[in-house]
Amino acid sequence: MARIAVQEAPLDAGAEIARLGGGRTDVGGIGLFLGAVRDTSAGRPIASMTLEHYPGMTERALAAIAAEAETRWPLLGCTVIHRVGRLLPGEPIVLVGTASAHRQAALEACAFLIDWLKTKAPFWKREEFRDGTTEWVASRSEDEAAAARWAAARPEAAE
């Protein structure tokens, strides 16, 4: 059962890694992706970024993405935590963690989770620039392509 959270509170990567390991001795590897707010957007300095989401659907979408990862890879732990509200450059915004017996499953599942999250979970970013203007972030075709590469992919047997 995956751990899913949408929160304004800061992320504690150390605590989440400890939770993924869970004191188990059959976990051979933990994969972790920690996304942070960059200080520029297309060269323009950012003052902050505000994350909006669709309460209810967000949690459902994240749980569905995690469930898909759990069917594709032999995971012993799976965590997806996304922050919402106003964030400053450098602050962690999203944490995806996976635990498995072997590194290949943990790393692949981690990459899959963040790729699908970017295109299949209802979050929207609004950037506030240093000059005081704000802009909703446009979706990127690169993110669509990254998600699409997992569309039909089934993992080979774990090493």
Partner: protein, 83 residues
């Protein structure tokens, strides 16, 4: 039927959500958009370009031809940008 708006759609429409009693001939998401667009200039501006609008019905992603029923929760928003 409950309709929700997110991100810049919410700003253009001017409200986050509304309860609407839609006429019987509104049977799909596309029909709902056409009907909502006639309600105010803000609605019309929000729905001006369907290529940049995404939709969910009862909290699942949906398309323009997805059928609607009374009591559905329909949300409109731009393509998602989380992560």
């Amino acid at each position: 039927m409950k309709v929700l708006y997110f991100a810049w759609l919410k700003e253009k429409v001017g409200i986050a959500d509304e309860e609407v009693a839609v006429p019987e001939e509104v049977r799909t998401v596309r029909g709902l958009i056409a009907w909502l667009s006639s309600r105010s200039p803000g609605h019309a501006a929000a729905f001006a370009d369907l290529s940049v609008i995404r939709c969910a019905v009862n909290q699942d992603f949906a398309g323009l031809e997805t059928p609607l029923a009374p009591g559905d929760e329909v949300a409109f928003f731009p393509p998602v940008t989380g992560g």
